[in-house]
């Protein structure tokens, strides 16, 4: 199996990255802070003002190592890629499949809803006794209704729009009780519905940042497997949107991002002072908090789970790669359907 390669995050303002031999060298104020052989890293994420030497940019592109630039708020700015590679026949198959995406969308939506349901069930199992009775029954009701949506998604014919509708309905149900999974009493850490661009509270700021990290990994997985990250199935094509990367991400969101956000808050690894409010109400993570989140994110990616379909134990960080690979096999005709990823 492919090795899970590490990601280097550079968050120090004014840090410089350069190439030395086959090494990447990170410097802050002229002092060497890290020296890494290029074959050990899968991608480099630079946050804010980070200087990258032209020689290093070239070496990263040649080595197929993604270089992603995020702004200080953690929003995506740019991505440096080498020449388009991979199999043109595979990409053509992907475009054709995107015209008739129903079965792939069905797989993705099933797995997403099932994984959202699993997150709620897990919370009930782990600390259901601590819930107030009416909140507990609200979460139980959401679990029940998600199960009904799942059955509908699996058996009802009706085209992609019906599936998209089911996905939206499930998301509403799920986020309506998401606040109940937060176990710290702090009023500043409550979740009142999803907001983005900009996130208007701490929980949304954290979710948005984690989704950005996950999108970046899914996009890299799509490209590494020769798929076009922009041509999606569940997500409609839109200029500049990595629709396929977003598709790939849907089934992983509840487990990789939402659960991690909950752990960070519930274990009090993040608190109110890790967030700052900007003009206009946008809430952002502070620099120090971003490091906490990145560390937790990297650790989470190393946790291993058995993959139900390939029946192998793989680190969570490789799941986007495995899913992209399985989809590629389906598009090539080696698999009858796309087997999505279910969290157990």
């Amino acid at each position: 199996m492919k090795k899970l390669l590490n990601t280097l995050y550079v968050t120090t303002e004014g840090a410089g990255l350069r190439k030395d031999g086959e090494n990447l060298v990170a410097e802050v104020d002229g002092a060497e802070r890290a020296r890494l052989p290029l074959h050990r890293i899968g991608s480099v994420v630079a946050v804010g003002a980070v200087y990258v030497s032209p020689a290093l940019i070239g070496a990263l592109a040649r080595g197929g190592i993604a270089l992603v630039l995020l702004d200080r708020q953690g929003r995506f700015e740019a991505r440096v890629e080498g020449p388009v590679s991979g199999n043109v026949l595979l990409r053509r198959a992907q475009y054709r499949a995107a015209e008739q995406p129903e079965e792939i969308v069905r797989s993705i939506v099933s797995a997403k809803v099932a994984n959202q349901r699993a997150v709620l069930q897990r919370a009930l199992r782990d600390h259901g006794d601590d819930f107030a009775p009416e909140r507990r029954s609200a979460v139980e009701a959401a679990v029940e209704r998600l199960a009904r949506i799942l059955r509908r998604v699996a058996f009802e014919a009706g085209g992609v729009d019906v599936l998209r509708g089911a996905e939206g309905e499930a998301a509403n149900l799920y986020f309506a009780v998401f606040d109940d999974l937060i176990r710290v009493p702090d009023p500043a850490l409550r979740f009142r519905g999803r907001s983005r661009r900009p996130p208007l509270d701490a929980v949304n700021a954290l979710l948005s940042f984690l989704y950005t990290l996950l999108t970046h990994d899914c996009r890299a997985a799509a490209e590494a497997n020769g798929l076009d990250p922009a041509v999606g199935f569940l997500h409609r094509d839109r200029p500049g949107r990595p629709s396929f990367a977003l598709d790939l991400m849907e089934e992983l969101r509840p487990v990789l991002a939402d659960r991690l956000a909950l752990s960070l808050i519930n274990r009090r690894q993040l608190s109110t002072r890790d967030f700052e409010t900007r003009d206009g109400g946008a809430v952002l993570l502070t620099d120090a908090a971003r490091k906490t989140v990145l560390t937790a994110w990297q650790e989470r990616k190393k946790e291993e789970r058995r993959h139900a379909f390939v029946d192998e134990v793989a680190p969570l960080g490789l799941v986007p790669h495995l899913q992209a690979q399985l989809l590629a096999r389906h598009l090539r005709g080696d698999l009858d359907a796309y087997p999505p990823w279910f969290w157990k």
Binding site: K3, N6, T7, L8, Y9, V10, T11, T12, A15, G21, E22, N23, A26, V28, R33, A34, R35, L36, P37, H39, R40, I41, K291, L294, T295, Q298, E299, K302
Partner: protein, 96 residues
């Protein structure tokens, strides 16, 4: 797999310093220097073959020596460090 590479290059004869520099550079391209002539190198078998060929083309077998310690796929577990110069864990979170 993790390989520990150590070397001794005789620098007293002509060309010795040049060989020493080249050996060090080859090791540094693939791994991490943990002590002066000691490198920990995490490679796949193909990369190992390439590095090995490069090293053995540089040294003068009459005067220099290389030692490879194969620590296997879980090699990190077999390594303990005591004292100064703690090195960077390349598999841990990398945040600068």
């Amino acid at each position: 797999m993790l390989v520990l590479v150590t070397y001794d290059v005789r620098t007293s004869d002509a060309g010795g310093t040049k060989r020493l520099r080249r050996v060090a550079k080859a090791c540094r391209d693939y791994g991490q220097r943990v002590q002066y002539s000691v490198f920990e190198i995490e490679v796949d078998p193909a990369q190992w073959a390439a590095l090995r060929a490069r090293l053995e083309a540089v040294i003068d077998p009459a005067h220099d020596s290389l030692r490879y310690y194969h620590l296997g796929a879980n090699g990190q577990r077999r390594v303990e460090h005591v004292g100064a110069k703690p090195n960077l864990d390349l598999d841990g979170p990398l945040i600068v």
